[in-house]
C-alpha cells in the first residue's frame, strides 16, 4: 500500500435531495431521502435487507432512475447523466469481474475506454495513443502493486480465490481514479477472517486515497468500524445519519437502537410514575433531570444496552441502590472469552446482559443485578422516537 500516497483524487460530494424510488406501482424502495455525503467522506448505508440501501447506491451509479427528487454529484445534477459519464466506480457484491479477460485487462478495461478513443483515433493519433497506452500500463501495475496482486495479472478471474477476486474488483475501481467509490456489500462473500482483514485494508485505502466512498452493508459491525458517518435505513426511510458513536449512544429511535449493537438492546414497555418507571414486575428509578420524568403516567419503552447491566456482586462500577437493582435468575450463560452473555429472567421479564467474565454466577442461579441509570434509553411507545 505504500505507493498509494502518490495517487491524488478528484473529490466530489454526493447529495440526495428528496429522492424517492418506486418499483412497479406502489413499492417504495426509497422514500424521500435527503442526505449529503461530504467530499472524501466514508459513508456507510446500513439496514436490514429490503431497506432501500442498495437501491440508493444504484441510483448514485445511474443503474436505477429515481422516481422523484434530485441527485447531485459535486455541483452537477446527474439524474439524466448515463452511468458511463458519471465517473463513478463500483465494487459489486459478487465482484462482477469480466470472466473472459485477464486480471490485467479487467483493471485496464475502463482506463482504455476512457483514454483510447476508439480504433480510428488510435490510428490517426498514433504517437499520442502509444503514450497513453504506456500510461495505462504503468497505472495498472501501480494499482496491482498497491493491492499486492501484481503476481496475478496474467490470470483469469476463475483462477483466483475469493479474496484475490475481491482485490481485483477493488483494483478495477481504483485504477480509473473515479470521483466516487460505491461498494455494495463487498465483504459478504469472504470468510470471517479475511473479512476482518479486508475491512482494515479498506479503511486504510480510503485514508490514503481520500475518495468519497459510499458503502452498503447489512452488517452493523462493518458499519460501526468503517463509517465516518452511518446512515441507518429502514423501509426506505432514513432513520438517522450520524457518526458511529452518536448512533450507538444516542439512537434517534427504537429501530436504530435495536439494529445497532450486539447483543441487541433490551426493550421493556412501562409507565412513568413519580420518578420511577413501572415495568410490571420491576420498578426502576429514572435518571435525575431526564425529560422522561415529565411524562407522568405516560407509556414509554425503556431501552437497556446489555453492557449497562452489571453483576451487583462483583466489580460493579455503579453504586447499588434499591432504585437501580433487581433480582434475576440466570437462564443461560454464554462464555465468549472477553465477556459473558447472560440471558436473565427477572420475574418474568427477559433481559440480556453482557457481564464481566470475572463474574462467579452460574446458569440456573439467582443473583442481584444493577443498572447504570445514565445509560438508559427511553422511547415514546407510540412513535418510537427517543425521548431526550
Amino acid at each position: 500500500m505504500r505507493d498509494s500516497a502518490r495517487i491524488s483524487a478528484k473529490l466530489a460530494a454526493v447529495r440526495f435531495q428528496g429522492i424517492t424510488k418506486v418499483f412497479g406501482k406502489d413499492v417504495k424502495a426509497v422514500d424521500n431521502l435527503t442526505l449529503e455525503v461530504k467530499d472524501g467522506e466514508f459513508m456507510v448505508l446500513v439496514g436490514p435487507s429490503g431497506c432501500g440501501k442498495t437501491t440508493a447506491l444504484r441510483m448514485i451509479a445511474g443503474l436505477e432512475e429515481s422516481t422523484e427528487g434530485d441527485l447531485f454529484i459535486g455541483e452537477t445534477r446527474v439524474n439524466d447523466v448515463p452511468p458511463k459519464d458519471r465517473d463513478i466506480a463500483m465494487v459489486f457484491q459478487n465482484y462482477a469481474l469480466y470472466p473472459h479477460m485477464t486480471v490485467y485487462d479487467n483493471i485496464a478495461f475502463g482506463l482504455k475506454l476512457r483514454e483510447l478513443k476508439g480504433f480510428f483515433w488510435q490510428v490517426t493519433h498514433f504517437t499520442e495513443a502509444k503514450a497513453k497506452r504506456k500510461e495505462i500500463d504503468d497505472r495498472v501495475h501501480e494499482v496491482a502493486r498497491m493491492l499486492a496482486i501484481d503476481q496475478l495479472l496474467h490470470r483469469r478471474p476463475k483462477e483466483l480465490s475469493g479474496g484475490q477476486r475481491q482485490r481485483v474488483a477493488l483494483g478495477r475501481a481504483i485504477a480509473r481514479k473515479p470521483r466516487v467509490f460505491l461498494m455494495d456489500e463487498p465483504l459478504s462473500n469472504l470468510d470471517a477472517k479475511l473479512r476482518i482483514q479486508t475491512r482494515a485494508e479498506l479503511i486504510r485505502l480510503h485514508r490514503d486515497l481520500g475518495v468519497t466512498t459510499i458503502y452498503v452493508t447489512h452488517d452493523q459491525v462493518e458499519a460501526m468500524t468503517m463509517g465516518q458517518r452511518i446512515a441507518v435505513m429502514h423501509n426506505g426511510l432514513l432513520q438517522q445519519c450520524d457518526p458511529p458513536e452518536t448512533v450507538y449512544n444516542q439512537p434517534a429511535n427504537r429501530f436504530v437502537a435495536g439494529f445497532i449493537g450486539s447483543p441487541p438492546m433490551n426493550f421493556v414497555d412501562g409507565t412513568v410514575s413519580n420518578g420511577h418507571i413501572d415495568l410490571g414486575p420491576l420498578k426502576i428509578g429514572l435518571p435525575a433531570g431526564h425529560p422522561v420524568r415529565e411524562r407522568q403516567g405516560g407509556q414509554v419503552t425503556l431501552g437497556i444496552r446489555p453492557e449497562a447491566i452489571y453483576d451487583a456482586g462483583a466489580k460493579c462500577p455503579v453504586a447499588v441502590t434499591p432504585d437501580n437493582s433487581f433480582d434475576a435468575q440466570v437462564d443461560v450463560l454464554e462464555k465468549l472469552g472477553p465477556e459473558d452473555t447472560a440471558y436473565l429472567d427477572a420475574r418474568g421479564l427477559s433481559l440480556t446482559a453482557s457481564l464481566d467474565p470475572a463474574t462467579r454466577i452460574h446458569a440456573g442461579e439467582s443473583a442481584k443485578f444493577a443498572l447504570d441509570l445514565d445509560k438508559l434509553h427511553f422511547f415514546d411507545k407510540q412513535t418510537e422516537v427517543a425521548i431526550r
Binding site: A61, L63, P83, M90, N94, A96, P99, H100
Partner: protein, 273 residues
Amino acid sequence: MRRALGAGLGLALYALVVLVPLVWVLVGSLKTGSEVFSNPWGLPASPQWQNYADAWSQAGISRYFLNSVVATVGTLLVLIPIGAMAAYVFAKYTFWGSKGLFGMFLAGMMFPNFLVAVPLFLLMSEFGLLDTMIGLVLVYVSYSLSFTVFVLTGFFQRLPNELMEAAMLDGCGHGRTFWRVMFPLARPGVLVVAVFNAIGLWNEYPLALVLLSRDENRTLPLGLADVVLRTEYQANWGTLFAGLVIVMLPVMAVYWVFKDKIHEVMLAGAVKG
C-alpha cells in the same frame, strides 16, 4: 439390470439404423455402377477412387459445393450478429411489447417452410432477388432467425446483470457493453447456434428449390438431386454415392470438431456449476 440391458439394446439398434446406410453409401461410393447391384453388401473388388474425381468435376459438384459454402457462410455472417443483438435485448431489457415481439420471433419456428414457399417466391420475385445468392442468403437469415434468437436469449439470460452494469460504469455505452463484454461471454452459445444452423443450411433443400433455378446457382442438395434426375436411366450409382459423401463430409467434420463444446453447452445448467 434388465432395464439397462433393454435400453442398451434399443440404443444399439438405433445406432445400427443410423450407421448402416452411412457405411453402405461410403462403401458404395468406391464401387462401379454395376457392382452396386451385383454385390450390394460386399466390399468393392477394387476401390474406384475415380468416382470422387468424376463427381467433383464431371457432375459439377465443385460448383455446387462452392455455392453451398457461400450460402452457408454468408448466412451465418449476417445471422449471428443480428440474432445475438436481438436475443441480448430480449434477455436483458423489458419494454412495452417486448413479450409480444419475442412471441412473434418464436412463432417463426412453427411455420413449415412449404407453407411460405409460394408467397416467398412472389415476394422475392417482386424484389428482383429470385435466383440470386443475396436473395437466398436473406431468406435463410430470416428462416434461421427464430431458432437463433430463441437459443441465444437463454444464453444471455444466464449472464449476470452485474457484468453489464460493471461495463457501463467502466465507460461502455450500450453497443460496447454488448460487443466487448456480453457477446464474448455468450460465445459457447453462439458457437452451438452457428454449428446447428450451418448443418441445417448446408442440407437445406425446399427453399433453395423454390428460389434458385439456374444451374450455376444451385447448392449441393439441389445439385445432387439434379445429378440423380439427369442420370436416372443410366445411373452411375458409384459417382452419385461419392457425391453424397462429399455433401456429408463437411457436416460431419464440423460436428466432430465441435462435439465436445456442443455436449458441454447442452448439459450446462443441468448440473449447478
